[in-house]
Amino acid sequence: MRSILWAVARRVGAGVAVLWAAATAAYAALWLAPGDTIDVLIGDGPDTPEIRAAISAEWGLDRPEIVQYLAYLGRLLQGDLGRSYWLQRDVGEVLASQLRPSVELVLAAAGTGVVLALLIAVLTAGRGPWPRRAASAAELVSVSVPPFVIGILLLTVFSFTLGWFPVSGADGPAALVLPALALGLPIAGVLGQVLRDGLERALEQPFAVTARARGLGERAVVARHALRHALLPAVTYVGWFTGSVLGGAVITEILFGRPGLGQVTMDAVSGKDLPVVMAVVILFAAVFVAISTVVDLAYRIIDPRLRTT
């Protein structure tokens, strides 16, 4: 019992350390980037010493960097994410209002990607050269075409020409279909390849021969035996595609006029809107920590051999 508690405590401690490191690195990166926040807030508008002084005083930017950093950490510990320089609103509220559409998009895209990848891999693995080549080509295209182009193509065909789905907004399930596809197709491409390679390796293993010898059909061999082996490398990719989805979400959100964290993050980074950038970094770091924990657990579920260790 004690050892389990100790393991949990270690995990939580490591998570907090990761969050702190991410926050500090982001803070330093923004600080080192050229130009200062006041410049960005002034933009191409009038720029006089009085205007600069007023902005500086309003946000406490006249204090030394290290003092600002410590003050930020102090507020963070109290759960205060601060106010956005640009949006003039509470950062916690801004993120909260954009979280749901983002989560919807990411889950729908990830779901689309996983389902498509599984279907394609199971249907084409060990099926002779032609289906395999066709699937492989489709995967390559979906991975190499930029999400922006995929999005425009989907819009042109399914929204502007056929009129099946609306272009914009986050209202209603119909509006989620095209963005989820635009973001999900590249995931399906990468994941599909990884899965099929794994499947084909597994199908050459002695256990596959044994299964076939027991009279199992090829489909059943793939679905019941080989897939489990192929999932291990695929699960490792989950962490990777969380990152890629968050990056792709920026483009997808702008293209489709969807609310979401991607757009907020991009505006905040280009506007040196420190409180928003920091909050997003901390949020994403927390998501990564959570996902890597889940992935470790998933290994144990998928592969019984790991449970004993």
Binding site: A33, P34, G35, D36, D39, V40, I42, G43, D44, G45, P46, D47, T48, E50, I51, A54, A57, E58, W86, L87, Q88, R89, D90, V94, Q98, R100, E104, L107, A108, G111, T112, V115, L116, I152, L155, T156, S159, F160, G163, V167, S168, G169, A170, D171, G172, P173, L176, V177, A180, G184, E253, I254, L255, F256, G257, P259, Q263, V264, S270, G271
Partner: protein
């Protein structure tokens, strides 16, 4: 197989949004109907006092009314103020106000409200830029009676009328100025007196308005009286031009603004759509020369750069015949535009080469660029990515190719983030900078660009005569006299000193379904007007 590709996301999407539970789109359609308008730029703020984006101007006057309106001739018309008097010394403005106006929160609009709105700007953190520029001369505001307010300035400032007709003079309910949760961001809880009431804002997606049924105080420039025609109004934020056009042609939105040059032909050819365009107010999009160091400290090099470019050909190839060439800093739409400058520069490559030879740039290096004392004739421009629009990056590339080919000038343009751009400006590490401004009174823009200590004088240009003329024009309320003074200013900047290379006059475009009527442009800015006069005909 084809089916299965479409089904999983659909099923997933259904499952996801079912637990989310966003209501079905409103079916409510009272008389006047509803309209959806796709716009390019999401406003940073809904507080008119904090307004900073010309592209978001069309939203401001849905929710708010200003004290005065600007008419098509550059004069002023009554709005919430029925009349105004300026004292002989130009320092006291007495406004008489309508007595039948109420804010959306039910409170009454009166002289005390005007005072509260103006005095809000004196708070140090509220809007330091307006405090330092537009309200620089404000001394005091006195309530004479419920319908009369007297404003005193420290010195005469004819641009004060322009302020009274600007979004900054949009009247906000003093009650909501005190109670709004996010005052500087605005939103449904910061209310005005306008023809529409903002009732929903979804960041990144849309702003939704409903009609103000009590509205009966439009500006004298409006086409009708009483409440707005439309019962409901939705602005969708679609930053991608191709997506806006697709949404319009497929009937998903009724109106779009910001039509790219490449799509104009397609829209004009469509019998179900209408297209209109207007030139923006303010200054033309121009290259300004940094006169503080070589090579543009030499007037001949500045002139040579202008002569090296065939502006008409470049504009035609980049904007496909939709751009209007500029000849002055001041935009062609302004009453202060000096038309005598037309045809005075550009496109004479022989002259360009002669000027450069005279200026001593006679050598040539291995890549064909001109040199002087072993140094290449390089000019650098730094543009901040968030402000690069209208294919200005493509325009820069076209000019870059031309000046290299015709005159051996090495023009380098870097598009960078705002911080890096600002650093280059601070370090004086640029020879060219590009700029256009959307000020409704071109004089306001000239005051920011040309005087020696002006806030965005990045040419480091100084001419005491120009400073004198600008000061005199700012204090004079006679439009003809101001035009005469501004003409002298323009001639000095464009011809005598050649510190600027005007390129084109920015414009705005509206495309709509044929049934949508009453769309148009705000004469003060040349940007799309609010939706008060818009209706859906049959």
């Amino acid at each position: 197989m084809k089916l299965s590709k479409v089904v999983p996301p659909l099923v997933l999407a259904l499952a996801l949004t079912a637990c989310g539970g966003q209501g079905a789109p409103e079916a409510a359609k009272s008389d006047g109907g509803s309209l959806t308008w796709a716009i390019e730029t999401e406003p940073i703020t809904f507080n008119p006092h904090q307004w900073a984006q010309n592209k978001a101007r069309l939203l401001v006057f849905n929710q708010f009314d200003a004290l005065l309106a600007k008419d098509a001739k550059g004069g002023y018309a009554p709005w919430l103020a029925t009349s105004w008097e300026v004292s002989d010394d130009g320092r006291t403005y007495t406004l008489r106000l309508r007595d039948d106006v109420t804010f959306h929160d039910g409170t009454k609009f009166d002289a005390a409200a005007v005072k509260a709105n103006l005095e809000k700007f004196s708070e140090p953190d509220y809007n330091p830029a307006v405090k330092a520029i537009q309200l620089r001369t404000l001394d005091k505001v006195e309530v004479v009676s419920a319908t009369t307010v007297k404003i005193t300035l420290n010195e005469p400032d004819t641009l004060f009328l322009d302020f009274l007709a600007s979004p900054y003079a949009g009247q906000v309910s003093p009650k909501s100025l005190r109670s709004a949760k996010d005052l500087k961001a605005g939103g449904p809880d910061l209310v005005g007196t306008g023809p529409f009431i903002l009732d929903r804002y979804v960041k990144g997606q849309e702003a939704h308005y409903r009609r103000n049924p009590a509205y009966k105080w439009p500006p004298a420039t409006a086409a009708h009286q009483g409440p707005a025609h439309l019962a409901e109004l939705t602005y969708r934020f679609l930053p991608e031009a191709a997506v806006r056009v697709g949404a319009l042609t497929s009937g998903q939105v009724d109106v779009i603004e910001g039509v790219p040059a490449t799509e104009v032909k397609l829209i004009k050819a469509d019998p179900d759509l209408t297209y209109q365009t207007a030139l923006n107010s303010g200054t033309a999009f121009s290259y300004y020369f940094n006169t503080s160091h070589a090579p543009f400290d030499d007037k001949r090099v500045r002139q040579a750069f202008r002569e090296a470019v065939d502006v008409d050909a470049v504009l035609n190839s980049v904007y496909q015949g939709t751009a209007t060439r500029a000849w002055s800093i001041v935009a062609k739409s302004s009453p202060f535009y000096d038309a005598t400058l037309e045809g005075t520069f550009g496109g004479d490559t022989a002259k360009a080469n002669k000027l450069l030879d005279e200026a001593g740039w006679t050598g040539r290096d291995s890549e064909g660029y001109r040199t002087k004392d072993g140094k290449r004739l390089t000019v650098r421009a730094v543009a901040s990515a968030p402000f690069v629009r209208d294919r200005r990056d493509i325009l820069a590339q076209a000019i870059q190719a031309q000046v290299k080919q015709t005159a051996g000038i090495d023009y380098q343009i870097k598009i960078v983030d705002q911080g890096t751009a600002q650093k280059a400006l601070d370090d004086n590490a640029y020879e060219l900078f590009e700029n256009s401004r959307g000020d409704s009174d071109a004089g306001a823009a000239l005051n920011l660009i040309l005087p020696e200590d002006a806030a965005i004088n990045r040419t480091h240009f100084h001419d005491p005569d120009v400073d004198k003329w600008l000061a005199a024009a700012a204090a004079d309320s006679d439009t003809a006299e101001r035009a005469r003074l501004y003409a002298k200013v323009q001639q000095a900047a464009v011809t005598e000193h050649a510190i600027v290379f005007p390129l084109y006059v920015p414009a705005d475009q509206i495309a709509a379904r044929k049934s949508v009527q009453g769309l148009g442009f705000d004469p003060a800015s040349g940007t799309p007007r609010n939706a008060y006069d818009v209706r859906i005909g049959t």
